[in-house]
Amino acid sequence: MPQATFHIWRGDAQGGEFKAYKTEISEGMVVLDAVHEIQATQANDLAVRWNCKAGKCGSCSAEINGKPRLMCMTRLETLPTEAPITITPIKSFPIIRDLVTDVSWNYTVNQRIPKFKPKPPEADGTWRMSQEEVDRVQEFRKCIECFLCQNVCHVLRDHDMKSEFGGPRFMIRVASLEMHPLDTENRLPMLKNELGIGLCNITKCCTEVCPEHINITDNGIIPLKERVVDEYYDPLGKLIRRITGG
């Protein structure tokens, strides 16, 4: 069987280095298979997160040859195996060990977003929504929280502005609530002040890496930016909307 070489970053918060591992590869293998093979036979303590191995849970995010990907959905056939394949942990979050990073900040952001607040149900205690209405938010609800978008976002990755900016994942989370046909909560003040939507300069890096192909920028962030602008920077329009109830 052919072999391939993997340069896997090993270390912890204090520092680390690439270690080289050689392993046999076979048809259909994904990067995560190779990492597991190495873990089982050469490095039992190699730290890596994974769960579903089918692109549904978003646990195994890493940078493969410098590109942010899910390891379970990256087939070796799509990579040049003559040269070593490098695997590094995602960069925007602190290292715990090897390929595992501390993503707990994301959970604290989510906690701060006001929860779903539905309008009253109809007389029979249930709600009616059309498929067209729900299609729009279902796109955002596909998110598997792999945090690859958080990893590539310049505001988080290069400027580390985690205290001022929530990142694309949580713009999409807010979009899934704000555009929910039943929701009545207003999250625009939070979007502007706490989540810092104005800091996004729509370079669309997040959209490019989304394994669920969510149009994060075009369908989520831009419409939210427009709502914030209407609310805060268009006083006349706001007055008219208040009067007309629009």
């Binding site: 912890d12 076979s26 048809e27 259909g28 293998m29 994904v30 298979d33 873990q39 089982a40 036979t41 039992n44 303590d45 190699l46 730290a47 890596v48 997160r49 994974w50 769960n51 579903c52 191995k53 089918a54 692109g55 549904k56 849970c57 978003g58 646990s59 959905m73 087939r75 715990i96 060990r97 090897d98 595992v100 501390d102 993503v103 707990s104 959970y107 989510n110 906690q111 929860k115 779903f116 539905p118 149900p121 205690g125 249930t126 709600w127 009616r128 929504m129 059309s130 498929q131 729900v134 938010v137 279902q138 609800r141 596909k142 598997i144 929280e145 609530l177 929910h180 929701d183």
Partner: protein, 603 residues
Amino acid sequence: MQGYETHEYDVLVIGAGGAGLRAAIEASAAGVTVGLVCKSLLGKAHTVMAEGGVAAALANVDDRDNWRVHFADTMRGGQYVNNWRMAELHAKEAPSRVRELEAWGAVFDRTRDGRILQRNFGGHRYPRLAHVGDRTGLEMIRTLQDHGIHQGIKVHMECAVIRLLKDGERIAGAFGYSRERGRFVLFKAKAIVLATGGIGKAYKITSNSWEYTGDGHSLAYHAGADLMDMEFVQFHPTGMVWPPSVRGILVTEGVRGEGGVLRNSEGKRFMFGDIPENYRSQTADNEEEGWRYTQGDKNARRPPELLTRDHVARCILREVREGRGSPHGGVFLDIAWIKERIPNGEEHIKRKLPSMYHQFKELGGVDITKEPMEVGPTTHYMMGGVRVDGDTQMSTVPGLFACGECAAGLHGANRLGGNSLSDLLVFGKRAGEFAAQYAREKGAAEVNEDEIQATARWALEPFERSGGEGPYQVQHDLQDMMQDLVGIVRREEEMVRALDGLRNLWDRTRHVRVEGNREYNPGWHTAMDLHNLLTVSEAIARGAIERKESRGAQFRDDYPEKDARFGQVNIIIRKQPDGGMQVEQDPVRPMRDELKQVIEEMK
């Protein structure tokens, strides 16, 4: 003396999939303090992978549906060894639990008149599964997660429990470690809910992730709780078979619900050739009728592809063994053919089954809108588990509750698709409610420091050993053995060999050595998980030997028929005082007359 951090809760929930989250939400709503422990990050538990839908007799698509039909379907699917009280509560309460999710923000697919849409699934008489394309589990877990985080529940992510602690007979706490830092953690708790899921990692070919090592089953067993029905392991008929690295990954039953058909290498729809007697009156006898059923014709009967999972899995295995399989040892599952019947078929398939399209395209290089998939059976679900009271979900250990996959009873000998997601909601809620009640009534208990220290020393032993092998080889050998000797088709002498093999694997496990340090060390975690895997594997083998008949998921080559005597009993597994595993037959409780009548009416 090993150090540890201590947390104290009224109710501790172990496991944060659908069942654990629902239990934690209910307990916290009852006003008690709640801790929630999860082995992975929050929101990554196995529920996230559920595809097809959640079964509830909402009657939105077919108004003939109601709890009675759902109850009878569940009992028939389980071959009548189910805990009928659980089947009754489940059928009655599932609709409210699903509507409640909508009130918490879940967005299900809709009917034309704007209500929750329901789809066909195996063993369900009417379209019953509320769904979101083929990512229903993600929608459910995210809804529960986003609701739960505002309830004041304290979540301990990436934390594993290795022992339950008792005070006399009753539960008192749990001891474990944080995966990230490798530090020990003590949880003092008045009541504990186990919601740890299944056991799939005992087998080589499985749809389950690394987490499914039977932790709850094993923790409960070693704490003295009864296990039940451990011989009933569900092999889902349709897992991916090619390429080798994806073998076992689930292909949702929803493919067949949407009109997908199974064919052998001769192009024949082989399921028509083997329809069990008790399903004959409900099953189509020609292809045309089967197609009409999948398209919502209320006068048509369901195609045989939608028979129960145990039966479909065995038929596939038979085709492969008799030389009519696909090139890589499965059979063909074809959804592309519906293009002959539906305009815009390609778009229709992508809309109804988006993640299947994606999964085959990316991992298998197969476009399911154009060509058939290759599929074969994969270890999927554990019907057996902790024996619980049907109403409260309390185990035979006071203060210890169990819900979801790690509890036994609802599904009997075979689970219907869609009944697991509704199980999580209905019995997660009940477990949380009654655990909170127990905690309030009984107050605090004492933990034993010596037991804690002994557990900590045991956990660290693998670091201190020299020589010995790593944990992964032992795990792989166990998986190979269980697949070969206690798999879909079982024989007494093979299972006796498996028990010998398990003795040998126990011995190797006691000598396993791990390298590195305690911080995020998967080798160390696997070394500890082995104890759980070996415990449940032994329980499966012993239960399967005891049940000398074929029923539901248990197929015995040496006893190929159903035996009415075994239809009256559940197999109970219990730890003896000397540490040995005791196996016992326990009579199924007599069913209430009113429920018997429901089953009669639905025949």
